[in-house]
Amino acid sequence: MRYLPLTASDRAQMLGVIGASSIDDLFVDVPKSARRAGLFDLPPHAGELEVERELGALAALNRPAGAGPFFCGAGAYRHHVPASVDHIIQRSEFLTSYTPYQPEIAQGTLQVLFEFQTQVAALTGLDVANASMYDGSTATAEAVMMAKRVTRREKAVLSGGLHPHYAAVTQTIAHAEGMTIERLAAAIDAEAAVIAAIDADTACVVVQTPNVFGVVTDVSAIAEAAHAAGALLIVVTTEAVSFGLLKSPGEMGADIAVAEGQSIGNALNFGGPYVGLFAAREKLVRQMPGRLCGETVDAEGRRGFVLTLSTREQHIRREKATSNICTNSGLCALAFTIHLSLLGEAGLRQLAAINHGKARALKTALEVIPGVEILTPRFFNEIAIRTPGSAAALVEAMLADGVVGGVPYSRLAPDAGLDDVLLLAVTETTTPEDIAALSAALTRRIGQ
């Protein structure tokens, strides 16, 4: 077995050193009823070639996003990632290291996390960011629970424009922690509706921009209303490239900003691993969940970085911790930071402008298709349309034309009564030919 260095003679000699007569002696504490003598009913070991063949065959059954016209978004976006990003994250020192608990021999990871935190704070327009969460949805749930700790109130109001899966995760996790979650009905462009739901028990309101229907909103008025009632505003963003074009959550008065960072540096990966971004105002830092990396000095006065404020964390506080989270999304955060370092301010702004430009081109194409109603008044790179019939059936039909024509909203929320709503996303990877193919497919299938 190629991954196991011990030889039969090693094993025999080592048993001798231990003073055991056989390997079974070392498993003597296992109750007799649970000891299994034979092998499990699974195939035997396989060489690299065999494994590559099996997995290659499985991969070949999938249609990669890059195989043709492709318009799925709704929380995960296909962007181009520079080749050097993937090269660096595969370096042994990053790939095969553990959480940086020994800072003297983990300054590589720690300095990257410090850079990551600085980048995330800058993008979101807030003071401090943590070293990442599992993904945007779990970061949202953590933000809601953080609002409970800060305000000592138990109600969270979720906008109808919040990604339904984010709302479900928040409901599942925050509800478990004893919070009341008020989830407003899905509506295309109604973020301000959360204002009417704010009361004296409200810990936070959660608003997404661009929202799940692609709508960009200035949340300043919502921030004012929340703050007037003593509640926090949590702003959610699922498309991190939009930070390059749009006003930041912090500029608009958010107290906590959470985002899915997958768009920068990370592949689609069928939903994971992704990287949750989490930033907040400075005064809230001690209630933040997750790991934080901070600057300090070593015994010779040289600058260095450590994990800090760990008195918030489970390995110190146990049942009194701010969260049970024990990992971050280290390697995905590294990919995010490298990609953003390559982009820089100019590159990110240009990338965002290109994405928006593609969406304008998409809109222009959609406007002339009979039966298509454009629902998103202000967008970044994603547009919701109303189709004459079931959007899911339409997507199914367009597959025969070789077009993966977006995400039917009913896939996210079958009971919302929005079966005719289709979400279409574009990025810099979308070509004019892709948009033409989508237009042709939509025209043909709607006409049927």
Binding site: D218, N269, F270
Partner: protein, 522 residues
């Protein structure tokens, strides 16, 4: 002195005063002193070539960002330099043994990286139509089959993103099952004193109160104490097995039986599954739910602290309460059940697919025979270390074998003036990552060593020789070697108190620094 014909010395010359030599630049030969990204001056640089788009955001009016973001950029060569220089300041499993107990730092096969990057997996959107994702769904289904077979459990929830996320998922299933049975008043969870910190944190997270179960002198759950604390308000027990002392819970079947007899569920923390994979099925021990850290037992890379993956296997009693999504077999192939559950959702999509591919490639490579050998070699290596180091160090539980990790206390350091922390920091100078320290909490000055099965006998001996040599100098009174350690790492010991007292969590421009010039989007 020997010289070449142009006068270049070809043999090293004895230099005086070379000890403690400091460079002029802060570099140490191959190790560069690397500033922060924000100090490299790249305020107007980019390392990507993007097409010139006609910039028009007139439709967005004042929603467009006006102020600069504050992001520096670097060209590609500078980016490579910056991050490669940083990488060289990290310890890694590819460099030397990484003996962190309870962390299972084993070799990460590169085949698995290659497989996860196949476009059919990496470039697949989570909401792509099921017809275009049949291979991905089949892979999830096959991985689930392996996990169920290896654990002897009938169901598995795939979506949890890490071990602690899996714990949360398991406890939420337990809570839902109790509520469905009219047992919602059960709000107490029993956790051994040696448990991972995530166990009590997770229990508190779901609104349960936590009570500790005492430990026997031989490092196991005190069955009598457990029985005394069980009652009609206990929702679950959370037990790690093998436990964090590196010992198999001999009474585990009885522990499960009494818990069940009192109407409680048995949550098993599967962090230490590597010790028993292929030899013992948790389902045979009476477990109701157990998370599996794919990043431990099944070798998906730790990546400097994630991403992990924590699928949860479930008993028949808990399976109906699992979160979406599920892979479903239908007449038109495989699909995902994404909504029909009363539980809700743990994450936006289907879990850590990239990790599923790696873990499955690992399992297929090992097969039934290889996985059994994994457990045997992991346990053999740990016992070998325990046997060798017992010559100078004091095992916390000397009687009987350990499982995959060897636990020592600090009684052997008594009177030396050297603490567990000092000893660990001196290991850094010798080229090794320290073991897990001061955990579990039940052992004074604990040193928990987990070698894993992917260490050769040569590397184990190198490690043991180094520790025995260090132990000898500690006992001989060379305290300074330990108190000041590490001397040879990229940095000396860091001031953690300073970091926490005045937290500096992001780079800020010095007041004297010229503020970055605003950039036009064009």
């Amino acid at each position: 002195m020997t010289m070449s014909s142009v006068g270049r010395p070809t043999q090293p010359q004895a230099a005086e005063g070379s000890a403690g030599h400091a460079s002029l630049t802060g570099a140490r030969a191959l190790l560069q002193d690397e500033p922060l990204l924000f100090e490299l001056g790249g305020w107007d640089k980019t390392g990507v070539d993007l097409p010139q788009a006609e910039f028009d955001a007139s439709d967005l009016g004042d929603l467009v960002r006006a102020a600069p973001i504050g992001l520096p950029g670097l060209s590609e060569p500078e980016t490579l330099r910056h991050y490669v220089r940083l990488s060289q300041k990290n310890h890694a499993i590819d460099l030397a043994l990484y003996p962190l107990g309870s962390c299972t730092m084993k070799h990460n096969p590169r085949l698995n990286e290659k497989m996860a990057r196949l476009p059919g997996f990496a470039d697949l959107h989570p909401l792509a139509p099921a017809a275009t994702a049949q291979g991905a769904l089949a892979l999830m289904d096959r991985l689930a089959h392996w996990l169920k077979t290896l654990t002897g459990m009938p169901a598995v929830a795939m979506s949890p993103k890490a071990g602690a996320h899996g714990e949360l998922c398991g406890l939420l299933c337990i809570r839902a099952a109790h509520e469905a049975a009219g047992q919602g008043h059960r709000r107490r969870v029993l956790v051994p004193t040696s448990a991972h910190g995530t166990n009590p944190a997770t229990a508190a997270f779901v609104g349960y109160s936590v009570q500790e179960i005492a430990q026997t002198t031989d490092g196991r759950v005190d069955l009598a104490d457990l029985e005394a604390k069980l009652g009609p308000d206990v929702a679950a027990i959370m037990v790690t097995n093998p436990n964090t002392c590196g010992l198999f819970e001999r009474d585990i079947v009885e522990i499960a039986r009494v818990a069940h007899a009192h109407g409680a569920y048995f949550y098993c923390d599967g962090a230490n599954f590597n010790a028993i994979v292929g030899r013992v099925r948790p389902g045979d021990l009476g477990v109701d739910a157990m998370h599996i850290n794919l990043h431990k037992t099944f070798s998906t890379p730790h990546g400097g602290g994630g991403p992990g993956a924590g699928p949860v296997v479930l008993s028949d009693a808990l399976a109906p309460f699992a979160p979406a999504p599920w892979v479903v077999h239908g007449s038109e192939g495989l699909s995902l059940a994404e909504h029909d559950t009363g539980f809700g959702r743990m994450t936006a999509f289907h879990g850590q697919m990239g990790m599923f591919v790696r873990a499955y490639a690992y399992m297929r490579s090992h097969g039934a025979d290889g996985l059994r050998q994994v457990a045997e070699d992991a346990v053999l290596n740990a016992n070998y270390i325990k046997a060798r180091l017992s010559a100078a160090m004091t095992p916390a539980f000397p009687d009987g074998p350990c499982m995959h990790e060897a636990l020592f206390d600090d009684s052997w350091l008594e009177g030396t003036g050297v603490t567990t922390l000092d000893f660990a920091k001196a290991m850094i100078d010798e080229g090794f990552h320290p073991m897990t320290m001061y955990f579990p909490l039940v052992v004074h000055g604990a040193m928990l060593i987990e070698p894993t099965e992917t260490e050769s006998r040569r590397e184990l001996d190198r490690f043991c020789d180094a520790l025995l040599a260090l132990a000898q100098v500690a006992k001989a009174g060379d305290v300074q070697r330990f108190k000041g350690a590490p001397y040879l790492a990229p940095l000396r010991r860091l001031d953690e108190t300073l970091a926490a007292r005045k937290p500096k969590l992001a780079w800020r421009p010095e007041p004297t620094t010229v503020a970055p010039a605003p950039l036009a989007a064009e």
